[in-house]
């Protein structure tokens, strides 16, 4: 049986005036049904690009290489009709920034009903207006919003409420995979906690696969079983949440984890941890390991060798020369 | 970021030069804008050089002896008007007046609009309320009708036309400048400048104006375009100065002297095409400039 989502050697470049901008540079990833995967990395490292490629939603300027398999079927070569069928019913997306992802002039209820009607009543009993309305009401209640909000316009809701609507919308057709792209970034701490809790509950009770993207490792660690860390279009670390968070194998993951200190941890008191240097410019990546100019522990070797993911633990891979090169070089397959 | 010992003013100059060359680079890639600029350059050069290249005496009805409404011929490449003057020459010289009127009226309107827009956005409160009420009032006034009224009331002449156009077309600039000023004023760097101790003058001259002026400039080029059309319309309605040769007044005399009836296309086409060419050139330039200055539009037009 094929995995829910499988990325094989995925590369994505954007055509731009300055030439090709590599956004994703060879990513291998597998997500099984019911699994939750967190994806972290700093701004511009290619997280959203990767997520959008799953539903072939990238702009026309994107050049895609490799394979994107949804239930074993390659999204890249699907007919457009088939793709439309897969969209939302097979995999849905919670977009970054709910304010803009909702159409400002349509009522919430209509926007929720839209995917249901489009997919012939998927997620409702039938495609009849009454059934669709009922389904919309249920969806709203599922995310903790009163049914009457179906009549509201997006601007009448708060940021947290809108994000809930987006989640409800993602669940409308009962997809097997949900991709949440920074679902909480713009939200306040407290609201963020509410949304994350909700998302966690929904995923665990319905057994769907979740890919969640954020730049905040601690947020991901609370919700996801596994964590992937990206740097400059590559996956640099992949493993169970606790391990990546607390025993990171890649220096970048380490820095990322340290940037969100644990309150009460005397080690970080009056000692903010940072990573010197600037994020890499995708058009002009340094040679060797792309991280080496900022790496506190880089060696001469790092300047020349471009390291791919290596097996650090049975379930834990990292792309760093310090990880012993014992097992296969071209890992990426979970065990 | 190179030279070691530069004075701040040298730095500023270097910066300006760089910004200008960057803007020029962005402008250059827009083919229509470039075409507009070239067209404008050619037309402006011709207009400026008219006294050198042509004999202005041939504009004097008392000195010419061509046929009345004569068709194009070897002597008169674009035929003659009802008084036997060369239409080519009239069109050529008409460009001078039309351009002058267009530029001056646009300038007047843009200056008024900018001052009102910046002041009303910067000071807010009742200043803004009054100025905006004023602007809104002028904005709803049908500007052509008002210009007609003004040119009826004032002494006939180029200056009146300039005044009439300038005084009636500023509100849209004021709105634009106000919107732009408001958006600049909402930027954190204004708050920072104020926190650094900068007063109104500092904020307006160092931050607001520099970021508003380029857009005002683009707006001016567009305003020139509409001022030229407005001039021709007023002249056509008989509100211009009949002793001045402008494209509008040429069209008026063409229309009232039977150019349409006699099919004297050579009298009707050149001034009209002149207007279209200049207005189009200004519009293209203005749009290209806007695209350069307003990144939101970049790559869309």
């Amino acid at each position: 049986m094929s995995a829910l989502l499988e990325l094989r050697d995925l590369t994505i470049d954007y055509r731009s005036r300055r030439g090709l901008v590599p956004a994703v540079r060879g990513v291998n990833l597998t997500l099984e049904a019911g699994q939750t995967l967190g994806m972290a990395g700093e701004s511009g490292c290619g997280k959203s690009t990767l997520a959008m490629s799953v539903l072939r939603l990238l702009p026309k300027t994107a050049v895609i290489g490799g394979e994107v398999l949804l239930d074993g079927e390659d999204v890249r070569t699907m007919s457009f009709g088939r793709l439309r069928a897969v969209r939302w019913a097979g995999a849905s997306v919670v977009f970054q920034g709910a304010m803009h992802a909702l159409n400002p002039v349509l009522r919430i209820g209509d926007q929720l009903a839209e995917p249901i009607t489009l997919h012939g009543g998927a997620g409702a009993k039938s495609n009849s207006p009454a059934d669709v309305q009922r389904a919309v009401g249920e969806l709203l209640e599922r995310v903790g919003l009163p049914r009457r909000h179906a009549k509201a316009y997006p601007h009448e809701l708060s940021g947290g409420q809108k994000q809930r609507v987006m989640i409800a919308m993602a669940l409308a057709c009962g997809p097997r995979l949900v991709i949440a792209d920074e679902p909480t970034t713009a939200l306040d701490v407290m609201v963020q906690a509410q949304v994350l809790k909700l998302l966690g509950e929904l995923v665990s009770e319905s057994g769907i696969g979740l890919m969640m993207i954020s730049h905040d490792l601690s947020v991901l660690a609370q919700t996801c079983q596994r964590l992937a860390v990206m740097y400059a279009g590559r996956m640099v670390e992949l493993g169970p949440s606790a391990q990546v968070m607390h025993q990171p194998a890649h220096p970048y993951s380490k820095a990322l984890a340290a940037a969100f200190p644990t309150v009460g941890d005397p080690a970080s008191r009056m000692a903010p941890q940072g990573l010197p240097g600037d994020p890499p410019d995708p058009t002009n990546l340094p040679g060797g390991c792309p991280f080496h100019p900022r790496c506190p522990v880089s060696t001469v070797e790092c300047e020349s060798t471009d390291v791919l993911l290596r097996q650090a633990d049975p379930e834990h891979q990292a792309a760093c020369v310090r990880v012993p090169e014992n097992v296969t070089e071209t890992a990426g397959e979970p065990v | 970021m190179s030279e070691k010992q530069q004075t701040p003013s040298q730095l500023a100059w270097a910066r300006r030069k760089e910004a200008a060359s960057r803007a020029w680079k962005q402008f250059r890639v827009q083919r229509s804008g470039l075409a507009g600029l070239i067209a404008l350059g050619v037309i402006a050069a011709l207009a400026i050089l008219a006294p050198v290249l042509t004999d202005s005496a041939q504009l004097d009805v008392t000195k010419v002896n061509g046929p009345s409404l004569g068709a194009p011929s070897g002597d008169y490449l674009l035929g003659t008007d009802e008084n036997g003057r060369s239409v080519l020459l009239l069109t050529w010289w008409g460009a001078r007046v039309s351009l002058t009127v267009g530029l001056s009226a646009a300038l007047l309107s843009v200056v008024i609009g900018t001052v009102i827009g910046v002041l009303s956005a910067h000071f807010g409160g009742w200043v803004s309320a009054i100025l905006m009420r004023f602007t809104d009032f002028f904005l709803v006034l049908p500007s052509l009708v008002l210009a007609i009224a003004l040119s009826t009331v004032l002494d006939r002449g180029l200056f009146t036309i300039i005044l009439a156009i300038g005084l009636t077309s500023w509100p849209s600039t004021a709105r634009l400048v106000r919107a732009q000023t408001l958006s600049v004023e909402a930027r954190p760097y204004i708050e920072r400048a104020r926190a650094l101790g900068g007063g109104h003058t500092h904020v307006i001259t160092k931050h607001v104006l520099p970021s508003v002026l380029p857009l005002v400039f683009a707006n001016t080029t567009l305003a020139v375009a509409s001022a030229i059309i407005a001039e021709s319309t007023l002249s056509f309605l008989g509100l211009g100065d009949p002793t001045q040769v402008t494209w509008g007044s040429m069209l008026k005399s063409a229309a009232s002297n039977g150019a349409v009836t006699t099919g004297a296309w050579w009298y009707l086409l050149p001034p009209g095409l002149g207007i279209v060419a200049v207005v189009l050139a200004f519009t293209l330039c203005g749009r290209a400039l806007e695209t350069v200055l307003n990144p939101r539009l970049r790559g869309e037009r």
């Binding site: 959008m52 793709l83 439309r84 897969v86 969209r87 939302w88 849905s92 997306v93 977009f95 970054q96 803009h100 992802a101 159409n103 002039v105 349509l106 839209e114 995917p115 489009l118 997919h119 601007h155 009448e156 | 009032f137 709803v140 006034l141 049908p142 500007s143 052509l144 009708v145 008002l146 007609i148 009224a149 003004l150 009826t152 009331v153 077309s169 849209s172 634009l176 919107a179 732009q180 857009l215 567009l222 305003a223 375009a225 509409s226 021709s232 056509f236 309605l237 008989g238 509100l239 509008g248 069209l251 229309a255 150019a259 009209g272 279209v276 519009t283 203005g286 749009r287 539009l297 869309e300």
Partner: protein, 342 residues
């Protein structure tokens, strides 16, 4: 007139976060109406002052060239209240306006209001037909152009729009007159010999309408096209379009259901905002084609010059623009839920 080409001037919907409230709506409507009333008052005052500054004695203009006696002149001065002090003239004028009396035309010795009323119909017919056609044409091209932006269709239509936009209306009218030869009448609205029945009158009017309407549309539609195009382009990158696509929607549905309605808002509002201004475009068209509307009336009043008539037409035109602005504001509120709730 360039207004439409300049971005940023587009009416920005006031950012709002509040909830809907009926008292807010009422306050909004009242505020707008109040503003409009003030504007109209300004217009009336301005109109009065402006034309009072006119040099020359209107009575002399009136009587020039025909036998008159000093007594008759004095009589006329009194009849038109020209010997009253300015403030009294103003009070009379305002009082008249309030009772719907625009004064008496110098040239025609008829109530100005009546004369204006006669000409409103033809102008509405011309401007109305023209605007409807221009809006349909402009929006359609604008939407298509934006959706396929960069395509040949887009490039040609945009260039065409910019070119037409640069054409003086009256010149286009003259050219059309010259080029169409015998196909269309040279002027007027309906032939006197046409039977006074509905269908022949309609057809004849339509026949007369063709050239003025084409002229009008050609110059006006470009604005709508450019506005619609940039408005839609602005929406093209919007995230909710991606959401719609991600839901599995077909591209043309994305356009119809999501992109266009959003882009339509500013465009429609602008149409209304500019409708009032467009009326003045009728001045030149009506003059060229002898179309018996307000514009022609203004032109005639101008050449006389007939002060009360000028004043009346000016007030009515400006007033209609003010009214259109109020309509535009209210429409925005009706159509855009974001603004409605304040």
């Amino acid at each position: 007139m360039t207004d439409l080409l300049t971005p940023g001037e587009q009416t920005e919907p006031p950012a709002s976060t509040g909830r809907r409230s009926s008292s807010g709506t009422l306050r909004f409507v009242l505020g707008k109406l109040g503003g409009a009333v003030i504007s109209v008052a300004f217009v009336a005052g301005l109109g009065f002052l402006l034309f009072r500054v006119l040099p020359g004695d209107p009575v002399l203009t009136m009587t020039r060239g025909r036998p008159t006696t000093p007594e008759a002149i004095a009589e006329l001065r009194i009849r038109f209240g020209l010997d009253d002090p300015l403030w009294k003239q103003f009070l009379d004028y305002v009082g008249g306006l309030l009772t719907g009396d625009f004064g008496t035309s110098y040239a025609y010795s008829r109530p100005v209001g009546e004369m204006i009323l006669e000409r409103v119909g033809p102008t509405l017919l011309l401007v109305g037909t023209g605007t409807i056609l221009a809006v349909i044409l402009g929006m359609w091209i604008g939407i298509r152009g934006a959706w396929e932006h960069g395509s040949r269709f887009d490039r040609t239509t945009t260039s065409l729009a910019l070119t037409l936009w640069s054409v003086p209306t009256f010149w286009l009218g003259l050219l059309l007159l010259m080029l169409t030869g015998n196909l269309f009448p040279s002027g007027g609205m309906v032939d006197p010999s046409t039977p006074k029945e509905f269908l022949p009158q309609l057809l004849d009017t339509a026949h007369h309408l063709v050239l003025p309407c084409i002229t009008f549309v050609a110059v006006v539609y470009a604005q709508y096209q450019l506005v619609m195009r940039s408005s839609l382009l602005e929406e093209m990158g919007a995230d909710y379009l991606n959401t719609a696509r991600a839901k599995g929607m077909r591209e043309d549905m994305v356009r119809r259901r999501h992109a266009v309605p959003n882009a339509m808002l500013p465009a429609i509002t602008l149409v209304f905002l500019h409708l009032g201004l467009v009326v003045q475009g009728a001045i030149t068209v009506e003059t060229v084609f002898s179309w018996p509307g307000l514009g022609l009336l203004l032109y005639e009043a101008l050449s006389y010059p007939d002060l009360p008539l000028l004043q009346g037409v000016f007030t009515v035109l400006a007033g209609s623009v003010v009214a259109m602005n109020v309509v535009a504001d209210l429409l925005y509120r009706v159509f855009d839920p974001r603004v409605r709730a304040v």
